[in-house]
């Protein structure tokens, strides 16, 4: 039976700050799961560590509340073990663009069929306000009182150059558009990255909801999302920040689809109740 809103209801209420973008991202995620008519048993969400990762307690699904930075690696393992599952990663910019960025690039290169939703508030907030890899140069935080010296990461450009097959940007304040992006990402057969702009009312006071409304705009209606070079140019533009799907390659096989062991059945469906070791010992005779 497909997921109902009551299925997703956790007994625990969110502990996020009032006005936090995570509330609307959680609502959008629940909506996306329901609107896709997915069955609860077929969904696994892997959560990062941070304010966004705490969502593990606020939504009731099969879940894996991972280590900081490592959720994508766990998600790949889950998908390869049982590719019937829809595997979603949800975590922050510090987690997925900082600590664990190597895993994100590897997942994009391999086109592992997982959807990665990055709650990007340009801050480490659960640790009370340090700059993140997504913070703009010069941002003052508790760990960078003189302003951060590094340039901000461009996650979408990096994902496209690493051959990600679905690359999008959403905004927590535009709920219905975000639901649509999430749905497209979940249904995309391959690696999908959705960078979600998220206001942090506690530690990023300059970029509040109004700031994002003023600084963002939708990708033009006639935008060709199949043109990779154009997509790269598009995501390198600084202002205004564009929202929508920048790139999608529907022709590329997902990693598990290229494994001949998984052609007919998932790995978990092939648990070897009976084994013959003859082939395994052939070379030792």
């Amino acid at each position: 039976m497909s997921i109902q809103i009551t299925d997703l209801q956790s007994p625990i209420s969110p502990t996020w700050c009032p006005g936090c973008g995570n509330f609307s991202i959680l609502t959008a995620l629940k909506k996306a799961l329901i609107e896709l008519n997915l069955e609860a048993k077929d969904v696994v969400i892997v959560f990062g560590i941070g304010c966004s990762g705490n969502m593990a307690d606020f939504i009731k699904t099969n879940g894996f509340h991972a280590l900081h930075g490592r959720a994508i690696a766990n998600a790949i393992g889950i998908k390869l073990a049982n590719h019937r599952l829809k595997v979603i990663v949800t975590g922050g910019d510090g987690d997925l663009y900082g600590e664990g960025f190597n895993h994100l690039l590897a997942a994009a290169r391999g086109n592992h069929d997982i959807s990665v939703f990055v709650h990007n508030n340009e801050r480490y907030s659960l640790t009370t306000g340090q700059t993140s890899p997504a913070s703009k140069k010069g941002t003052v935080g508790k760990s960078t009182p003189q302003g951060v010296i590094e340039e901000a990461i461009n996650p979408l450009a990096l994902a496209i150059s690493a051959n990600a097959s679905f690359v999008a940007r959403g905004f927590a304040g535009q709920s219905q558009e975000l639901v649509e992006l999430m749905k497209q990402a979940i249904m995309h057969e391959g690696f999908a990255l959705v960078d979600i702009l998220q206001p942090c009312p506690s530690f990023n006071k300059t970029q509040d909801n109004q700031w994002y409304i003023e600084h963002t705009q939708k990708l033009k209606a006639d935008y060709d999302l199949s043109d990779r070079e154009q997509a790269l140019k598009q995501v390198l533009k600084k202002e205004p920040i564009e929202l929508g799907v920048f790139y999608q390659d529907q022709g590329r096989l997902a990693y598990h689809q290229e494994l001949q062991q998984l052609t007919d059945k998932s790995l978990i469906e092939q648990f070897p109740d009976h084994l013959d070791l003859q082939l395994a010992i052939e070379q030792f005779i």
């Binding site: 879940g63 978990i268 395994a280």
Partner: protein, 596 residues
């Protein structure tokens, strides 16, 4: 049948084909029904340097490498200098050269035969690389193996490649002729019996420790292996990668070791039996995720293939100094198991057992071993090939009763029923945070305590299923000396027992520990007569590949045994039974060891 024993070694540069030659010769010995141990030494480079393959084969037992050589085969004359202490007047050196100037080696007692194999191979067979097979064949002739046995092996190894088989056949014939001439000239009587191949029926397998771990894993239902290459664990990655076409198995070479262990944890969460493998430096990167396996109660098997550290250390050599590291690896308190198999056979057995323990008790299980045995080949009896597998501690289809599923249910055994994601009406939240029975994060005092107690309770439940200390030689209560080791060292200590019998010296008691965590204190302490120990009537030594006597520290921490000395080796090389025999005879030990 009279006891047959042969010691053979081949030395050349990396790229000469030393390992292949040794593997071939070892296989020839295996096919003659002999027990075989094949030990490699090689530097961390691709071309050049000096590398060796060394085969000890015997009709009785061959558990380790031996020092004295019957036949030394050299690709290049200059390598003789490295092997002088292994040669005596009974040894023969076969050199790939036209002539040899022995005046540089006044201390050389061995007889030298020179045959320009490379030159002959190039001229007669048309390929200088065939020198390799000529050297194997000359060695076979030296030990009186029949040439048709060697040819049969060639046909098997190169099946389908007619030209290669013909070239090899020609090389074998030439080598038998050449060595025949040289032996007559040198008036050598190299052997007094012809080695007949034994019937194929009672064959042993010949494989490395890495391969035995892999075979055990497949036999246990391994379906997911993720790893990043690192010597000396890479052999396992290669073996399993090749088995993907034979079994329902996915092998993933990941972006790094952190990705490797976390992918394995993901796969294990999703319900398949999963494993990762690496050496000390790679495992250092995996420690955080080991702790995650502990708290989230995810079954995982980890091979830690030791080489000498610290840091990059000696990449292609052996050591045991990760013992403390692995026994204590992981932040926080959580249950884990550390197996330390000795022989290749025990690597197979404990690899299988590791998957059973990991799944039943839902925790990380280590196979802690070292380069010495993981990359050496050893014979083991062929195991049963037909295997039936069961699942353990999984959630039965009870949820149809409408009961709420508690992933981390508090039980008397500490084991909670584990769901596999994909079941109707079952929600499984694995959590790296401390969590309640449902899996939700908690910071409550009593919930935290109960969750910790539940997990640690599994350690008590499992004790009876873990491999106990094994005693060899004299009973522990009767011996003057007690030697204690873990992991691969038992291979050498068993050969020491043979040497002591031959030298008519009293047998020590030897205790081999196949499991170091949890430490089976009761089983260990039961072996001793404590009055005798306390009166100082017995000398107790650990024999270990560490510089800081880590095993002795572990024993003091976990048993009443406090007065322990240690025989240590930490230069990357294995113990030699001959050196330990000398210590028994003279109370003096070679300077490469330390006793403290």
């Amino acid at each position: 049948m009279e006891k047959i024993q042969l010691n053979w070694k081949i030395a050349g540069k990396a790229g000469d084909g030393v390992m292949l030659a040794a593997k071939f010769f070892a296989k020839l010995c295996q096919h003659h029904g002999l027990q075989v141990f094949n030990y490699y030494e090689y530097p961390s480079l691709i071309k050049g340097g000096h590398q060796t393959g060394q085969v000890y084969a015997s009709s009785e037992s061959a558990s380790c490498q031996r020092r004295h050589l019957d036949l030394l085969v050299l690709f290049h004359p200059k390598f003789l200098a490295f092997h002088l202490d292994a040669l005596d007047e009974k040894s023969v050196v076969l050199i790939n050269a036209k002539s040899f100037d022995s005046s540089q080696y006044p201390q050389l007692k061995a007889r030298v035969i020179t045959i320009p194999f490379s030159q002959i191979a190039k001229q007669e067979v048309g390929d200088a690389l065939m020198a390799n097979m000529m050297m194997i064949a000359a060695s076979a002739k030296f030990f009186d193996f029949k040439s048709d046995q060697l040819l049969e092996l060639v046909k098997k190894e190169f099946a389908g490649n007619k030209r290669i088989i013909e070239q090899n056949q020609q090389a074998i014939n030439l080598a038998y002729q050449e060595l025949g001439k040289s032996i007559q000239e040198a008036q050598l009587d190299c052997s007094d019996q012809t080695l007949e191949a034994k019937a194929a029926a009672d064959k042993n397998l010949l494989l490395t420790g890495n391969e035995a771990v892999g075979l055990g894993a497949i036999a246990a239902g391994l379906q997911f292996y993720s790893a990043y290459p690192m010597t000396p664990a890479t052999g396992l990655l290669h073996y399993l990668a090749a088995q993907q076409e034979n079994y329902p198995l996915v092998v993933k070479h990941t972006e790094d070791e952190i990705g490797a262990i976390n992918q394995a944890l993901g796969a294990a969460y999703a319900g398949v039996r999963a494993m990762t493998g690496t050496s000390g430096g790679g495992y250092a990167l995996m420690v955080e995720a080991t702790s995650l396996a502990g708290v989230a109660e995810i079954p995982l098997v980890i091979l830690e293939a030791m080489r000498p550290g610290p840091a990059t250390g000696l990449p292609t050599w052996s050591g045991q100094a990760d013992l403390n590291f692995i026994v204590h690896a992981g932040h926080g308190d959580f249950p884990k198991v550390v197996f330390t198999p000795g022989s290749v056979l025990e690597h197979y057995q404990l690899s299988k057992l590791a998957f059973y323990i990991a799944e039943k008790y839902q925790l990380p299980v280590f196979i802690l071993s070292d380069k010495y045995i993981l990359e050496s080949q050893q014979t083991m009896p062929q195991p049963d090939l037909a295997i039936d597998l069961e699942r353990f501690s999984l959630l039965a289809n009870q949820q149809s009763t409408g009961e709420k599923y508690l992933r981390y249910q508090d039980t008397d055994s500490g084991i909670s029923p584990r769901a596999i994601p994909g079941l109707d009406k079952v929600v499984y939240l694995a959590n790296s945070y401390e969590h309640d029975q449902e899996g939700f994060a908690t910071e409550e005092s009593l919930v935290t305590k109960r969750a910790m107690d539940k997990r640690l309770r599994k350690m008590e439940t499992m004790l009876a299923e873990l491999p106990k200390p094994q005693v060899f030689g004299a009973p522990v209560t009767a011996a003057d000396k007690v030697l204690i080791s873990f992991g691969s060292t038992i291979n050498v200590l068993q050969e020491l027992l043979n040497l002591l019998v031959a030298a008519k010296i009293n047998q020590p008691a030897i205790i081999h520990l196949p499991c170091v965590a949890p430490f089976l204190s009761k089983d260990f302490e039961q072996l001793f007569d404590w009055q005798k120990i306390n009166e100082g009537k017995q000398a107790v030594y650990t024999v270990e590949g560490t510089a800081t006597a880590q095993l002795a520290q572990l024993l003091r921490a976990n048993s009443q045994l406090k007065n322990i000395k240690s025989i240590l080796r930490y230069d990357g090389r294995p113990f030699y039974a001959e050196d330990l025999l000398e210590w028994f005879q003279t109370q003096k030990i070679n300077e490469v060891y330390q006793i403290k």
